[in-house]
Amino acid sequence: MLELRGIIDAIWSFIVGLLAGLGIPQWAIELVGYALIAVVMFGVVAVIVLFLVWWERKVSAKMQDRLGPMRVGWHGIIQTIADAIKLLQKEDITPKAIDFPIHFWAPVVTFVAAFMVYVTVPFGKGLIVSDLSVGVLYIIAITTFTVIGLLMAGWGSNNKYSLLGGFRSAAQVVSYEVPLSLALLGVIMISQTLSLGTIVTQQDNLLKWYVWRQPLGFLIFWIAATAECNRTPFDLPEADSELVAGFVTEYSGMKFAMFFLAEFVNMFTASVVAVTLFFGGWMSPFGPDFGPSWMWFLGKTMFFVFVLMWFRWTYPRLRVDQLMGFAWKVLLPLAFLNILLTGLGIYLFDGLK
């Protein structure tokens, strides 16, 4: 039906043909191709994120029994675009005492790293830029760049609140990355692959979703991912009631917008990973070819984004020591337990796959 792969292939061959017809050398064509893909990916994710920002505001409004943005467009649907334009127009205030290069590059690193994940995300049947053989590891690795960005922001602002925010963020993300990676290991052990595309195709109906075999793993992953995104109840790096606004205190205008968008991209990423590894990705629950795959993907992902928003308006924020204690004393042993159980399960029911 509505599979996009065909359309994209058609456009791609048209462009390549056009460029080759113009006598442009092969390497330049490849370069342009990559650039085009990057731009398209960026566009897709950016649109999704703009939608998410609006949605978050609507969801929080619903949960607090108010209306949220209503004025710009139908139920305020283009409010975010208006906001983005406003932010772009605003003056970019750079405080005097900052470490300028660090301060300048921090949002860029965060922003770029957030988007780099999407190289290996299967959006739908065939809709994947590059199905890396180390896809899962790639995602885990790239997401750590976000922290570098936050640390740079914290340091570069030369502000003690920002610095504290940076510290907290680094400690938190590094700590939660350990149970997160270990939780994903369960799925990897069962699926015998690191490639996201293969993992998705293995879960070709509702019963084969890995969440049924990895309930504990999913739980650990989801908690850790919430922490990785710096979302409530783990939003200590930017806890506005404690640290003003954490590492974004000294940012304004476009740079602030980049941090803001990166946060939403990360949120989307967490949901994407959850969906891909545990809930069958773009596979429909009823078999491989039931409805457009990208619709399934988006639907599932949006549900998990909604869960994240739901968390935010449900749970209070943790204390720092509770946060670290929880990661090292609860999640980590549980993750080890999960690996042991998975190994045992594979050993006992070999050929479970």
Binding site: L31, A97, P101, L132, S133, A141, A170
Partner: protein, 166 residues
């Protein structure tokens, strides 16, 4: 052979990034800048690994070096340095002799490596090295693997013991 292959281009760009990043890391006055350049260099090295078909290693490089080691470095910098630290000298008094000796070493190295014909195997690299690496780690190299895991545990405990306040 007048066409520029994309592989060659990438190699030179990455080499430039690595070496420039390394030099900045070593020479930057601001320690935090050093750390950021270190991250940059390490990331470029990961890119180099991709060029060498070592995808798993590239991912590990990013995960461990960027995600853990560099983070630790930045942490260390943040804990031990203040932004406004004005340092009179960031290098010690032996920098000139050291530069001379290093230059000599580099010249010697380049001289030695420039035209050495290594016996290069023509066998192409297997596409999916991750699987093979995993198998090797669990079979042929299982002892070093276990030793390394023990080492990590020891380092973990050791670091906690050393750094904790009495």
């Amino acid at each position: 052979m007048t066409e520029i292959s994309l592989t060659n281009l990438t190699f030179y760009i990455l080499s430039f990034c690595i070496i420039a990043g390394g030099i900045f890391t070593v020479s930057s006055r601001n320690l935090f800048h050093s750390a950021v350049f270190l991250v940059f260099t390490l990331f470029s090295v990961a890119g180099m690994f991709v060029m060498l078909n070592a995808y798993l290693l590239a991912a590990i490089q990013v995960l461990i070096y960027v995600g853990a080691v560099a983070m630790l470095m930045i942490f260390g910098v943040m804990l031990t340095t203040r932004l406004a630290d004005v340092r009179l000298r960031h290098v010690n008094e032996q920098s000139w002799p050291a530069l001379a000796i290093c230059g000599f070493f580099l010249a010697f190295l380049v001289y030695g490596l420039w035209d050495t014909p290594f016996t290069v195997s023509g066998v192409p690299m297997p596409a999916d090295t991750a699987h093979a690496l995993g198998t090797l780690l669990m079979t042929k190299y299982v002892l070093p693997f276990e030793v390394v895991s023990l080492l990590l545990l020891a380092a973990l405990v050791g670091a906690v013991v050393i750094a904790k306040k009495d």
